[in-house]
Subunit: 311 residues, 2 copies
């Protein structure tokens, strides 16, 4: 850890909804460092020995917990909470699942799938044989108490929450509007690696230790999450060739689905990856970008796969 | 130019619709290099001396012309046309406009705006005082004859066309499904620089000279545009810090609008850029990415602005 924390939030200090009524588990002054020790987004129900059969018995009322809340003394609605993301330390294993009914292609991949990945090599994880994904750890859930509640922890909103934004890595600074007294900051949902989009609905999910600095700002008229990425941009893909597939049409989400389907096709024909594995791989290593969103009525979403992941 | 062209397509050899009925202006064998000399997407109606008043008299029936078509002898429906993008040489000036009724925030920016940019420095263009945008030239329009026609050249589709994809730069290889005999390839809409999304509807529009190699492929089961980016990835932003703003909600296009609006706000408060200029700057230098598209009902689109554009 990079700085002496004012408080440590443990694995058992979590909540299962975003809600301004949830009482803080700790309180810090503006500028303090807080250290978190967090279970994975499955709340510890999935282990390194789990099989796909265990997904069937997953208790969804216990998933996507967030740790906290931490009160930042004196923060008021209308202020902004500056969250300096100091450090992320993933566990030594992670899981990636396609969960029936959830994910961008839930109608295509109806059966459950689970993949366990070793994170013993802290730089890259062998996600599939001969396919190594760079580890860029971050937390999918980072937020303050919303304006009202209780709310599910699945959808993100203007208070942050489940933003699943892979650029919120160590060295980044996140700004969140404050809606409740003392801001009430929480985080969770450790990800060892993820592509822009998180198309199958899970990343490489992992327990995570993290430290953040929480600072009240009164000079920023921010209405939703904004952030500054670090020097060196570790979440940026290594410079190198990418293979890219397009989805084109009047609905941006449908275009994203088409782009992902074509990427899955390419991963199969070019690299011999079976469709369900390709879907999971897209979620952890392929990036969705909006190439154009103005040439009515058809927009272009492009899925970019870095070729550096292939041995 | 990097290779001896088999044919040269001139500025006056253009068409204003995608249509398999349009007769080719030239014919080449598979593997031939074709050189194009193209007017800007305004068809030459806008000059380096134009003012916003000239936008009012723009004849829209003459915009977004594409040069060609070039027949590739023997290409059959079901084949794929491999387009090696060899070289792009923009003109020495370009224009960027907000055209009433067109663009991601057409309802916000109702008045016409025009900005002329010198491209004399071939690496970076000073788009606004103290704000320099890296030049990564490409063509917004790259396509083959579609399955039917005539079709407007504004929306892209599975035959390519107005994809406005900034990664289709020199060194990239594009694959397009063939729908008509001899493929009938055309291109146009020179862009000196653009962000992912092209939010205001125009890039830095410029006359362009380009050369491409056209090769018939019969081993690729491709149903829409796919491409390989070059080694070194010139279209990738320089590694460095980015400021990013989120749009969050159930409609991906609305989320993109919110992310763009927040970026315009940031450009104003942090860099003193007035809203209309910020909107144009987003179109030429800010990238829209889909951060997550699975956490129903709310998705996150993030606008990324590279800080390296600011002096």
């Amino acid at each position: 850890m990079v700085a002496t924390p004012a408080v440590r939030i443990g694995r058992d200090q979590f909540h299962l909804a975003w809600d301004p009524a949830i009482e803080p588990v700790a309180s810090v002054r503006s500028g303090a460092v807080v250290e978190f020790d967090m279970l994975d987004a499955g709340g510890g129900q999935i282990t390194a020995d789990s099989t796909v059969a265990d997904l069937a018995s997953l208790d969804f009322s216990r998933v996507d917990q967030v740790n906290g809340p931490v009160a930042v003394e004196g923060a008021r609605p209308g202020d902004v909470l500056q969250v300096d993301l100091l450090d992320f330390e993933p566990g030594d294993w992670g899981w990636t699942a396609s969960i029936p009914g959830f994910g961008l292609l839930a109608d295509v991949f109806e059966e459950a799938a689970l993949r366990i990945t070793s994170l013993a090599d802290r730089r890259r994880a062998e996600f599939l044989p001969g396919i190594r994904v760079p580890l860029v750890p971050f937390c999918g859930e980072v937020g303050v108490a919303p304006v009202d509640g209780p709310r599910s922890t699945i959808p993100p909103d203007l208070h942050g929450g489940n933003m699943d934004t892979r650029h919120l890595t160590a060295g980044a600074t996140l700004f969140l509007p404050v809606f409740a007294p003392d801001a009430r900051f929480s985080m969770g949902d450790g990800h060892a690696a993820q592509g822009d989009g998180e198309v199958c609905g899970t990343a490489i999910e992992t327990p995570m230790r993290a430290s953040v600095r929480l600072t009240i700002r009164r000079d920023l008229p921010i209405t939703g999450p904004e952030f500054l990425t670090p020097e060196g941009t570790p979440a940026e893909r290594p410079v190198g060739r990418r293979y890219a597939t397009d989805g084109i049409g009047p609905d941006v989400r449908e275009a994203a689905r088409d782009a992902t389907r074509r990427m899955i096709d390419w991963l199969g024909r070019e690299h011999g990856v079976v469709p369900i594995d390709a879907y999971l791989l897209c979620s952890v290593a392929v990036d969705l970008r909006i190439s154009e969103i103005v040439d009515v009525p058809n927009f272009v979403v492009t899925a970019h796969c870095p070729l550096s992941i292939f041995d």
